[in-house]
């Protein structure tokens, strides 16, 4: 009887090993070559607003066993110790109006009055900076330290989270106001009275539009 019980247990174990999702050996490739790449682009962008953002990236690392036996899923945290880290991240975003394709079609003159129809404003992430002195980490004695690869992965995820938060920060409204504030003194110097100057944008932007107004280099970088 005891032998039969052992055999059944062995059979269950063997069936557990038959993993459905076979983990194929992955070869990781970085999308960069280990050399300097320089790209120079001639532009004509008027930056009107600068936003300084702050985020504390936190990570709580617990090892656990997850699986499925007898059609029952389970999740057990392993008592091998925790690893925690908090990384303060400062980011600078700027709103700009691109004048590269600005033509006389963007200007309407009627007597002493002038109306300037500006291209859509855009938002770009110009820099991010880790406050290395303020990074706090706790690693249990049974665990290994955070690797450089893990740290850069958390920082990259924090950067992506900032980009995702952009539409909720009402940046475009302020950027439009500041574009007018910057351009009105410029046009006044050309001899127009302030009350004769009108600065308009193509349209009112909703949340979906704002996602499209995030500079593509910022989003590419976030991937």
């Amino acid at each position: 009887m005891k032998n039969i019980a052992y055999m059944i247990f062995l059979a269950i174990l063997l069936m557990s090993c038959g993993d459905k999702e076979k983990t194929a050996a992955k070869s990781y490739q970085l999308d960069t070559i280990p050399m300097m790449v320089l790209q120079i682009q001639k532009t004509s962008r008027l930056y009107t607003t600068e936003y300084h953002l702050h985020k504390i990236i936190t990570h709580n690392d617990v090892k656990s066993i997850t699986g499925k036996i007898f059609n029952q899923s389970f999740h057990i945290d392993l008592p091998v110790g925790k690893r925690k880290i908090a990384i303060p991240l400062d980011a600078t975003l700027k709103a700009y109006v691109d004048f590269s394709n600005f033509t006389s079609k963007n200007i309407k003159k009627a007597g002493k009055k002038i109306e300037i129809i500006l291209p859509d404003p855009h938002i770009v992430l110009t820099s991010t900076k880790i406050n290395h002195q303020e990074v706090k980490q706790y690693v249990a004695i049974t665990r290994s330290n955070f690797t450089d690869e893990e740290l850069t992965s958390f920082e990259n995820q924090g950067r992506t989270a900032i980009i995702k938060d952009i539409p909720s920060l009402d940046m475009i409204g302020i950027a439009k106001e500041n574009a007018a504030k910057t351009l009105i003194p410029f046009i006044k110097q050309m001899g127009y009275a302030e009350e004769d100057i009108t600065i308009t944008f193509r349209k009112q932007f909703n949340l979906n539009d704002i996602e499209k107004l995030i500079d593509k280099t910022t989003i590419e970088n976030g991937k």
Partner: protein, 209 residues
Amino acid sequence: MENKTLRYLKYFFSHSSKTFWLLPTTLLTISILLIISLYLLNKDNSITISQNKNIEITPTQIRSIEDIGEWEFLAISDEELVDTLRKGFFGDSELVRIYYGTLRLGINLREAQPGWIRAGQDTIVATLPPIKLLDKDFIDEAKTRSFYESGSWNEQAREQLYQKAYNAMLRRCMTPSNIKSAQENAGRQFYHLLTSMGYDHVKIRFQNR
């Protein structure tokens, strides 16, 4: 011989009771059913040791909003491979990272002198502030890639690597030719902008540094 075997079999089947056959048949059926049910229950079994690799959800705070007036005429995207080496008794430790940054060259309209634009009937003269680096912080550090690591490194070492990448990007991008290129583009863009506004004669000058 053959007839003898057949006779023996006939005798055996006619004289063996039904109960005699019932026991092995039942045992065989139960075993098959047990194997099938065990297979069905365990076919999706899996056990994995998992580790959380994602960050937690934390708020993004706006520290400040500034009204600026910077006109960019040249954007230089750069990536720098920087490394640091530490010699040790048991072997050397090395950390190699790739940093990304964009240096933006242009003018700050706040630095324009009063009367920097003088307009006549069909003539306009614009005296632009000198071309400069618009952002002091131009490295996208959160986009940095770890290329190679051996040994353990602290945050101070990472800060030093950042400074090394910063200086390398400045040296590589803030060259007289790039500044000249930005200045030429500034002249072209302002000329285009002012002619679009209806001026026939446009003169663009730059303030002295």
